[in-house]
């Protein structure tokens, strides 16, 4: 940590920001600890309510996943629609190792992470030549191909029927009888993602990613190895997404292609949550998840029976509305309000 603090002292302030103020990593870690404490208290408060615990587990997991996406998508400005691939790699790795060789999911997090990272670097190498919308198209196509392959190679994935993971409750198997440990597990993963995000943001990589985001040509002219920076950001992001996939597989104890690779329910969900919360901000994706996931549960519970797809209908409308009127998400809007408030107070 001290090493990163030293780097921070030498690194330039984040470019393109209206205020030169940069939060120190230590302050950021303090905030994350506070978030952990609040959510921990929430889990304790609702520990007897499996319905709420389920929503919390999903919220923390998707907050974590959107934060992981945000590392390359938000900080680096590379709008990947293909993060479902890395998510699925994590899920299938853990599911296979557990199903065939009874390897503890805790251990298989490591190969899940490494595989997701490797695949991410391999497929991003060519696709990072593309910019903006074209990168998004290529990653969307990648996700669809992964879906085809997952359905086709059924020895590895169980094909369209999926894989049901055996219920052997126990800490070593990451299989629990109650939802409480899962909520704690997902909270732990969220904290890991936030800490990694904070560390990346305050590291050389983070500044380079932001420079590439703002102006790729200028970043290259300034001597930044753009491809390398993008690949590093993608690797970190994909590794975390892979872990998320593993945890999701163990939470559901079931994996099949649509659950892991649905473009609307998984791949785009990460972006959507990040956008609603605030793309490129550290806490935006978490804020987005806090809004979106409970909203989705509510919509599915109230409208799902009558109108199939009503939850995605409303999410689609929200995407359009936020891209038109709240580009910087709720966190960005909050920041803007706060600056305006302080300015009026000073006058």
């Amino acid at each position: 940590m001290s090493k990163i603090d030293q780097q921070e002292a030498g690194a330039p302030a984040a470019p393109g920001r209206s205020s030169p103020h940069v939060t120190r990593l230590r302050t950021e870690l303090g905030r994350i600890a506070a978030i952990a404490a609040v959510f921990g208290a929430a889990i304790t408060f609702w520990q007897g309510d499996p319905f709420i615990l389920n929503i919390m587990a999903y919220t923390f997991l998707f907050g974590a996943l959107a934060s992981s996406w945000n590392i390359i998508g938000g900080f680096g400005g590379q709008f990947s629609l293909g993060h479902g691939v890395f998510f699925a790699i994590g899920g299938y790795t853990t599911a296979n190792l557990y199903f065939h060789w009874q390897i503890s999911p805790w251990l298989s997090l490591i190969p899940a992470m490494i595989l997701a990272m490797l695949v991410a670097v391999l497929v991003s190498w060519p696709t990072f030549r593309l910019k903006g919308p074209f990168f998004a198209i290529a990653t969307l196509a990648l996700n669809e191909v992964a879906l085809v392959l997952a359905n086709y190679f059924d020895t590895l994935t169980g094909g369209p029927r999926g894989m049901m993971l055996p219920f052997n409750a126990g800490l070593a198997n990451m299989v629990f009888t109650s939802r409480l440990p899962y909520a704690v597990l997902m909270l732990g993963f969220l904290i890991v993602c936030l800490v990694v995000g904070a560390m990346v943001l305050r590291s050389r990589l983070g500044y380079y990613l932001q420079a590439v985001h703002i102006d790729e040509d200028a970043a290259r002219a300034a001597g930044i190895d753009v491809l390398r920076v993008k690949l590093s950001g993608m690797a970190v992001s994909a590794a975390l997404t892979g872990i998320g996939g593993s945890l999701f597989a163990m939470y559901l104890r079931f994996v099949d292609p649509p659950t892991l690779l649905s473009i609307q329910d998984i791949g785009v969900k990460f972006l959507l949550i990040a956008l609603i919360g605030g793309v490129g901000t550290l806490y935006g994706p978490l804020a987005g998840a806090l809004l979106i996931i409970p909203l989705e549960f509510h919509l599915r519970a109230t409208l799902g029976g009558m109108l199939p797809g009503a939850n995605l209908l409303i999410l689609g409308a929200l995407l359009v509305i936020f891209s038109l009127f709240m580009r910087r998400g709720v966190v960005g809007a909050g920041q803007a309000l706060w600056t305006r408030y302080r300015r009026t107070k000073n006058e």
Partner: protein
Amino acid sequence: MLSFLNIVIVGLLLGGIYGLVSMGLNLIFGVIRIVNFSQGELVMLGMYGAYLSWFFLGLDPYLSSIIVVPLLFLLGVVLQRFILQPLQNEPFMQIFATFGLLMFFQNLVLAITGGTGYSVRSAASSAVITMGEINVSLPRLIVLIAVIVVALGLNWFVTHTMPGKAVRAVTQDRRSARLMGINVELAFMLTFGAGAALAGLAGVMLAPIYTLSPQIGGNFILAAFAVVVLGGLGSVWGAFFGGFIIGLVEAFAGYYFDPALKHAIWFLIFIIVLIVRPGGLFGIAGAEEMGLREQD
């Protein structure tokens, strides 16, 4: 030899479908430089439009294009005016907004229909033309003819008419076009409208071939992207020939490998083209980056 010829015919017919679906996407991309993720859903809306006119008015699906195509033109104009025009210089937000539209339209139709599949009957639906040993289904042949007509018509429009020339001027240099007195915003609205109308036309033409489902747009959009990237971004003939290339690849891959893997094979070609010639086979080198160039 016969099976080879058969595969070529199947591929060309499929290529006609992909080409027709890609025309509107390519027009919108080429002129406005917006990648419209919801294009497949506009095709889907066109198909349901054909179904509705058939169900309520008893119109043959091909005739229903006189209703569906203008309606989609209007929808396109409205989308461009109220959603995409405010996002003109925000390429990332365009991705979000058009993807939001994709989810919105798809799930709107899902919510209304409850996911029941519909099919539209045309007089031509089951007609088959037999040429020697080869059978060609008439609706697919009509699509093939439609794509040729649309490509020729579009090409004539942009090279020989004043509005078409205005559209090309806007494509090449927005600022100079504005200085020449061209209303750029109007040109964009009409272009998006035309792109949506072409999607509607494709939907009408495809309605007798496919079973209608809200998710059907997803079958076309990736193929259309592959066609557009392969053929050359923003080139009319690029989309035309790109469609046939993808169609032939799919037909041959389906026959010699496995139909289940056709997407994977497209993607391979897609990636190779992106690496070797990012501008596409008929496009201008560097066009893949133009989407981000600020022109105003």
